[in-house]
């Protein structure tokens, strides 16, 4: 069985249904991309996987390494190796990155009462900051407070590098970064992916295909209106690249209409992608 298995996941916020039956399987060592237009439910999916209490799950289940993920608290998920790089990380006044990161790494590494020794932590932190070319000054600042968009994204990746997840979900980590930064971030991810003992699974949520040139996903999924309408290999991203995102968007509308009519999500997806 896949390390992460999402089955028929339905999610809503108050009365608004956002995810309408997501199915997805991902294992360590694999890189998946999830692409889709704004508002299609990508961030919702990421947040639900991490246990954001804001969303209500109305149907479906998620197994993580064979266990019921949805029954776990967010911190339990994190300690077991799940990670999300948020699209819009919140800033927390008064909490320094240094103390936050040290506490987080200690939690992930199973320190119970005390924290990881300072010297050991600092060495680790320095290493990761160098690799990702993160300005060391950020550790003295408050969590995400006053960070530029790019700084926030880099800080998320830094956390990922420190926590060494087994499955990482990256929610539009590439947006707001210039192409050089995208490359640094992508290189960082690839390095983590290669070096992770036991392998690391990555779910890259993105709007653009440019990060995928560097990441070379094994699987690509297109999400539209709360459903994965088609899944395929890297050629899917290629196709998206060639057609341009705006061109594809119109096709989503076509699918949506078909879905509305037939309710046959997979068939609709197939129609779209196979006929091209």
């Amino acid at each position: 069985m896949a390390d992460l298995a999402i089955r028929d996941l339905h999610v809503q916020v108050e009365e608004k249904v956002i995810l309408k039956g997501i199915n997805l399987e991902l294992s360590r060592g694999e890189i998946h991309a999830v692409m889709g237009p704004n508002g299609s439910g990508k961030s919702t999916l990421a947040n639900v996987l991490m246990g954001n209490p804001f969303y209500q799950i109305t149907r479906g289940d998620v197994l993580y390494k064979g266990e019921d993920l949805l029954a776990m608290s967010p911190d339990e998920r994190a300690r077991k190796g799940l990670f999300i790089a948020f699209q819009y990380p919140v800033s927390i006044p008064g909490v320094t990155m240094a103390s936050f990161l040290r506490t987080a790494v200690s939690a992930r590494r199973g320190y119970e009462q005390e924290l990881m020794p300072v010297a050991e932590f600092q060495k680790l932190l320095r290493e990761k900051m160098e690799a990702l070319r993160v300005d060391p000054a950020i550790v003295g600042r408050y969590v995400n407070e006053g960070f530029s968009g790019g700084e926030k994204k880099r800080a998320e990746i830094l956390q990922m590098a420190l926590l060494e997840p087994e499955i990482a979900i990256m929610d539009e980590t590439d947006s707001g970064l210039d192409i050089d930064s995208v490359k640094i971030v992508a290189d960082g991810i690839m390095q983590m992916h290669r070096n992770a003992s036991g392998g690391m699974g990555v779910l890259v949520i993105t709007h653009y295909s440019r990060i995928l040139q560097f990441l070379r996903p094994h699987h690509v999924h297109i999400i539209y209106d709360g459903r994965i309408v088609v899944s395929g290999g890297p050629e899917l991203a290629q196709e998206l690249e060639e057609r341009g995102y705006e061109g594809i968007r119109q096709q989503f509308e076509v699918i949506a209409a078909e879905v509305q009519e037939s309710g046959a999500i997979r068939r609709a997806g197939k129609v779209f992608w196979v006929t091209h």
Partner: protein, 442 residues
């Protein structure tokens, strides 16, 4: 050793006779005794504060306090054990002097010899009255009057084991002085009085700690702190209050008179007690005077904390900057009422006031009441108050990195207080308070 030392003398009721005995025991001069008796007379005459000053006492009901059940601790009793606050006082390298009061007696004192030689006086008030009578007579109760309300009157009649600090003109005391007040008698009362006179151009810092036994029986404290900063003087004062869970502190005041070009920095920390009602005031009396006022309170369980502050600008070109932050948990309640008063003619005044509260439980509540009385027209004045609940998005973010809810909450609370910690003028206090706030989270 005298025989009295081993005789058990019962704790004394709050009475005129006890006032007289106390004055006699301390060997006070006639004027001091007369002041005590006048204060006792005021105590008997004045109505309950809720009647006399309903607005100030509206949110704190002390009607349930049974003064008849309280007693002045036996001055001959067994020496009280050391209270908390060890880390603040133990390390001699971090302080210039030390004074310890327990159950109304002064039980320990120290002052670096070079400071004593420079004319610094740091001793208990009774001793100061004997050795520096004119100085004490001139300043004691110069800023606070027993007529203000019943508790202040009671304080005026029964204060004991006070702290006296005098710094001669131009003398700078680099390290803080530390004074500890401990109340170990269940059902006891303590009326700590602190008088600081910083003469022209001097600099000094005093950290005071207050604690009492974790007894079941209600104990009562009511203190007065008078801080006098003469022209150009700088006084930094911190009160760290950690009374035991049954203690009520009612009608206390920290009041500063800041003269021309002087600076007073006060820090009020309220962590303990069952019910606490204190005032912290700065009176800016001369041009160029400035006051910085920091406050930190944290109520848990059924604690009730009521703090009234006053920034009084009576002279032009004066500055006050207040930051009070509080957290409440469980069924605790905190009240902050802050008044900025600018007198006619106090032009070119800068007055800032900020109060922030963090509510950690559904059953906890805070009230924040900023008030302005502005009678000048050329000034800068800002005030703001905000109360927020624990932000679930922040909690989720931290938990998504593996922190437990408790760890996440703790970080956020510590972060909430960070700017107060950052502005503390004493390094020793910062670490100490961070640890105490952590304890309050458990």
């Amino acid at each position: 050793m005298s025989t009295e030392g081993t005789t058990q003398v019962a704790a004394a009721a709050l009475s005129r006779a006890t006032v007289e005995q106390q004055s006699a025991r301390l060997g006070e001069p006639a004027w001091a005794r007369e002041r005590r008796l006048a204060a006792w007379e005021a105590f008997e005459r004045l109505p309950a504060p809720a009647v006399a000053r309903p607005e100030e006492w509206r949110r704190t009901d002390v009607g349930a306090l049974d003064l008849g059940a309280l007693a002045v601790p036996d001055p001959q009793g067994s020496p009280a054990r050391q209270g908390r606050h060890g880390p603040l006082v133990r390390d001699e390298a971090t302080r210039a002097g030390w004074l310890a009061h327990a159950d109304g007696r002064t039980v320990g004192r120290a002052l670096r010899a070079e400071l004593a030689r420079a004319g610094v006086v740091f001793t208990d008030l009774a001793c100061a009255m004997r050795e520096h009578e004119a100085l004490v007579r001139e300043h004691l109760f110069a800023l606070a009057s027993p007529e203000e309300h019943r508790f202040r009157a009671l304080h005026g009649a029964l204060w004991s084991a006070g702290t006296f600090l005098y710094v001669p003109p131009g003398v700078e005391v680099a390290l803080p002085l530390v004074a500890q007040t401990w109340l170990g008698t269940p059902g006891g009362v303590v009326f700590p009085h602190t008088l600081v006179v910083a003469d022209q151009g001097s600099r000094v810092a005093l950290i005071e700690t207050f604690a009492s036994a974790p007894a079941e029986r209600r104990a009562l404290a009511s203190g007065v702190v008078e801080l006098i900063a003469r022209p150009g003087a700088q006084v930094r004062y911190a009160a760290v209050q950690e009374w035991g869970p049954s203690t009520w502190e009612v009608g206390s005041v920290v009041r500063a008179r800041v003269e021309r070009d002087a600076l007073v920095h006060t820090t009020m920390v309220a962590l303990g007690g069952d019910l606490v009602k204190v005032d912290v005031e700065a009176h800016l009396g001369g041009p160029g005077a400035s006051a910085e006022m920091l406050g930190l309170y944290f109520g848990t369980g059924g604690q009730h904390v009521d703090v009234h502050t006053l920034q009084e600008h009576a002279a032009p070109h004066t500055t006050s900057d207040l930051l009070y932050k509080g957290a409440v948990r469980d069924a605790a309640r905190a009240v902050f009422a802050g008044l900025i008063r600018v007198h006619p003619g106090a032009q070119k005044t800068n007055a800032f006031q900020a109060n922030r509260n963090l509510v950690l439980s559904a059953g906890a509540r805070t009230d924040s009441i900023p008030k302005l009385e502005i009678m000048a027209n050329d000034l800068r004045c800002t005030h703001g108050s905000a109360t927020s609940r624990l932000n679930e998005e922040h909690i989720f973010y931290l938990m998504s990195r593996g922190l437990t809810r408790r760890q996440a909450t703790f970080m956020i609370v510590e972060g909430f207080f960070a700017d107060v910690f950052d502005r503390l003028p004493f390094e020793t206090l910062r670490g100490y308070l961070q640890a105490r706030v952590a304890e309050k989270m458990i």
